[in-house]
Amino acid sequence: MTEPAATSVAEELRAIVGDRFVLERDAVLLAYQSDGLPGYHKRPSLAVFPGSRDETIEVVRLLATTGTSFVPRGAGTGLSGGALADDVVLLGLHRLKAVLDVDIARMRATVEPGVVNAALNKRLARHGVFYAPDPSSEAACTIGGNVAENAGGPHCLKYGVTLNHILAATVLLPDGEVMEIGDRDGGMAGYDLLGAFIGSEGCFGVALDITVRLTRRPAAVRTALADFAHVADATRATSAIIASGVVPAALEFMDNGTIRVVEESIFAAGYPIDAAAILLIEVDGSEESSDAEMEVVRSLCMESGARTVRVATNEAERMRLWQGRKKAFGAMGRLAPNLVVQDAVIPRTQLTDILAQIHAIGDSHGLTVCNVFHAGDGNLHPNISYDAGDPDQVERVHDAMSAIMQACITAGGSITGEHGVGLDKLPYMTKLFDEPTLAAMCDLRNAFDPDHRSNPGKVVPVHSCREWLAAPAARAPARRATDAR
């Protein structure tokens, strides 16, 4: 793109959204060069923040007319580099934060994409209902971003991921056309475009509004902290609980490294710092079922070798146990200036083995790997804290992460359970899927965005597309977006 063209686009954007919400200078774009995974930095050509649905439509239509690529962004809390704009327009949707409708009778709410997950639930609380998916970044992340990533969270074990809780959406396609997908009343007709859109990581356009399914709050919740002297005992307890038929609302694992970091933070939750691992286990439902299931959980933990199982006796204690878990990732900042986190998923029976392998990989690379993850569904989050100023360390971290990913793929797992592919996991896609499957994914994208203008260069390596294979030279501009800076 030549300099004058960009300037005139900026001028037209200013006419739509106002001067304050078109950013072009280096200093003011710095804040938008990373998402929640700060190992990557990409400078947008400019950033534009529409303040209403109509402004958003006008902006996207203008970008379509000029053939300009763009990257949608919510709160920038993603952990895959998915919301980075490499010399293309960054389209921030965080100002669209109206809750448009709450319909308790029909158990649904319609929100704009910039509504913050926790803000929606705060608003729903007095009705005794909630929006179930609860990513750890719920205090900051947006529903639009959750839809783009098909976000998960601790309670997805029982309640399901974002896909299972979205009824309909109004989508603005990259060419500027507005389209309704899904059915607010829960009906199903035609191809499941809503299902395809959820988790499309901003590559299929942007949602202008989203209708979510509401769930009634369970009458009772019990949360327990089980404390183990050996990691293998904790994973054995996990398997025993899953096999028992009890479906906990959440079943979270934290290893000693994570426990120590949390206990040093202001979110110290009273975790035992001498434990090799702890499990945070929650069951919910009726008073009777919760007590009965917690009893099953408690005895399975004890049989598996737990030192103690402590059930929170009041809401404050319960929230404290959860705060420690939810803020664990952020708390890793205490260890070293930089942090990488992975998101692989493995079959649950492989947990013990994979954790041992991860430990060995860390050792052989001279790194400490902290594990905090959703044990109940086998969704691992190995974290490595490191100093990016040390090139040798950076290389070892990169090698260790690749080895961990390969181990998970070999175990029959996946490379991402809830964070998305984005930029970070792009290199692993070809290890996980064969060429025809990747080409079919490109075809799906092409139906929504044939020019790959919405979040270019993400999710599927561009060389996997049929068009690329047929005429590589023709796709040269698209390739630039995937190149590391």
């Binding site: 199903m188 959820i198 988790g199």
Partner: protein, 222 residues
């Protein structure tokens, strides 16, 4: 038909010759109100059987021609089940249930087939064999071809194998009663109609370039 390569060969051959195919499981079920404009049948009834069952991982993988009866009986031996209970004959196939997204009363608590499928093998209209998803319960790697295929009535590809989320029968009803969702009906299926014509037609052209997969079954309403 037996196995992915045989299905793929048949589809490639039909594509080259421009012969439309009627894709069926056991052919015992509804015709969804529109007849398929095809003389030749591609039946998956013999491509049956459970390929992998990991009770402790709560996953099962079966060929599309497997009957719901066989699946139910196998899982029941470990006191487990899959939340698929479409109306009609239990000898209907897993492939048909998923391809039509047919659901029954269980959907109010557990969702429709869309919420049960973890991975699948699909043969596309150009003969490509694709394997989206996997065998883990949580997976957001790549664009969601699985949801695209569920309820597409075979018009975007022929599903040959499916990996499902398995549940324990021991789960207590009163621990999940609050999760009950409003469904439009106690049983049903995804309506085979073309909505959002621009995207839907683009998908058909890309996934069924020769127009041979169940032509005519998707009604135009727009």
């Amino acid at each position: 038909m037996h196995g992915d390569t045989e299905v793929a060969a048949a589809i490639r051959e039909a594509g080259a010759a421009g012969i439309p195919l009627r894709i069926v499981g056991r052919g015992t079920w509804l015709n969804a109100g529109a007849s398929v404009a095809a003389e030749t049948t591609l039946s998956l009834r013999d491509d049956a059987g459970i390929r992998a069952y990991a009770p402790d991982d709560l996953t099962v993988t079966a060929r599309a021609g497997t009957t719901l009866r066989e699946l139910t009986e196998t899982l029941a031996r470990r006191d487990q089940w899959v939340a698929l209970d479409p109306e009609g004959d239990p000898d209907g196939t897993l492939g048909a249930t998923v391809a039509t997204c047919s659901y029954g009363a269980a959907a109010a608590l557990f969702g429709t087939p869309r919420d049960q499928v973890l991975g699948m093998t699909v043969v596309l209209g150009n003969g490509d064999i694709i394997r989206p998803g996997g065998k883990v319960v949580k997976n957001v790697a790549g664009f969601d071809l699985i949801r695209l295929m569920i309820g597409a009535w075979g018009t975007l590809g022929v599903i040959t194998e499916i990996t499902l989320r398995v549940r324990s029968r021991a789960m207590r009803g009163d621990s999940i009663a609050h999760m009950r969702r409003q469904m439009p009906a106690s049983h049903g299926y995804r309506e085979p109609v073309i909505v959002n014509a621009k995207i839907s037609n683009a998908l058909r052209q890309r996934f069924d370039p020769f127009g041979i997969l169940n032509p005519g079954i998707m009604r135009d309403v727009e």
